[in-house]
């Protein structure tokens, strides 16, 4: 866990990509889940943040 946080602090690609991936996945699940309308409402923001983050962090050093 400390390695992950260290990677985030030192702007390393791996942990940031992991975070972006989790956000995109979470956003898609929120968009298509049939249980809570509020989750659906905020799904796009989560997916968008994840996608933009993914594009940016894929240029970070390994």
């Amino acid at each position: 866990m400390s390695g992950f946080i260290n990677g985030l602090v030192r702007l390393r690609r791996g942990p940031w990509e992991m975070l972006a991936t989790v956000l995109i996945g979470l956003g898609v699940v929120m968009l298509m889940q049939p249980f809570v309308l509020v989750l659906y409402t905020y799904s796009f923001v989560v997916t968008l943040v994840g996608t933009v983050m993914f594009i940016i962090v894929s240029h970070f050093p390994e």
Partner: protein, 315 residues
């Protein structure tokens, strides 16, 4: 002495032009060659995307071109993301997407595994299995509509034969519970061969020497399957899932032909709903916002999926 085409072209070039070209660097010449492609790409792909994003913040209606277009900010996004009807179409799409991918991967991989066993006549079987993929979705939709007819449809009689139920007692297309499964069955029937072909390419790329080495180590067939076949065919399988996932997220023609999105809205997938908003209700700004939401979702998913695919390939 024969003159080469290059010499002929050089001789035909006017002096002024030739002098100017001679003065250009290799980098500039490369840019001149690439520029038309880049321009075409920008004009066909990037410009419509940017234009759609811009329209998504307006109340523009394409059937009223003379109306003043006003900037509505994020209102279109707010309305879409709080509309329970659109939320329902997202769920219908998710149901369709998840089940078609599961069924197509399972059946497609099994068929590829069987075809790869090289029995007599396997080429003929490959051709027969691939046949549905070659048909137009409109044709498939049309004849499956007949197959699903409760009175005369063959599908109902086959189900009745195996279950003992009355063939006319259920309607695959007319029932709200069965209609989502009706479109899944047809899509699976049509596109499983595509998954099978990709898996077959993966299976045929595995060298026999690996299996021979495993035989020498007395590995069972079951162990060979899970430690050789599946890991080595996995990149191909993932590629098939990527293609089918993106394609089914955009599914339109087959479902429109089969059910038209009904009964009610049970088979209204996002692309069908989007088309209705854009070209039946003519809410261009609103439908642009809808399209942007779908684009970001597919783009995000495809990005992480391609990343995972590259990792699997590097193993």
């Amino acid at each position: 002495m024969t003159i080469s085409p290059i010499d002929r072209a050089a001789a035909g070039t006017p002096h002024g032009v030739a002098r100017r070209i001679r003065g250009l660097s290799d980098r500039t010449i490369a840019w001149i060659f690439v520029a038309p492609t880049i321009f075409l790409l920008l004009a066909v792909n990037i410009f419509p995307l940017i234009w759609t994003i811009r329209l998504s913040f307006t109340d523009y209606r394409v059937n009223r071109p003379n109306n003043e277009v006003s900037w509505v900010g994020l209102r279109n996004y707010e309305r879409i993301l709080s509309d329970p009807a659109i939320w329902d179409t997202m769920q219908a799409t998710a149901h369709f997407l998840i089940w078609t991918i599961i069924l197509q991967v399972l059946i497609g991989f099994t068929l590829a595994y069987l075809i790869n066993m090289k029995f007599k006549g396997n080429d003929l079987w490959t051709t027969i299995i691939v046949f549905p993929m070659m048909l137009s979705p409109a044709v498939v939709g049309n004849f499956w509509t007949f197959l699903y007819q409760p009175q005369i449809g063959l599908f109902n009689y086959v189900v009745a034969f195996f279950t003992g139920a009355d063939a006319a007692s259920f309607s695959m297309i007319g029932d709200v519970h069965l209609a989502p499964w009706a479109i899944i069955i047809v899509d699976t029937w049509m596109w499983t061969p595509f998954v099978m072909l990709i898996c077959l390419a993966g299976l045929r790329s595995i060298p026999d020497s690996i299996y021979e080495a495993a035989e020498c180590d007395r590995a069972s067939k079951w162990r060979q399957f899970w430690t050789i076949t599946v890991p080595m065919a996995l990149p191909f399988l993932m590629l098939a899932v990527l293609f089918r996932g993106i394609e089914n997220f955009k599914m339109f023609d087959l479902v429109v032909q089969l059910t038209g999105g009904g009964p009610g809205n049970t088979t209204t997938l996002t692309s069908i709903d989007l088309k209705r908003e854009a070209f039946e209700r003519w809410r261009t700004g609103y439908s642009s916002a809808y399209a942007v939401i779908l684009f970001v979702t597919v783009f995000g998913l495809a990005s992480i999926y391609v990343k995972a695919l590259n990792k699997v390939k590097q193993r």
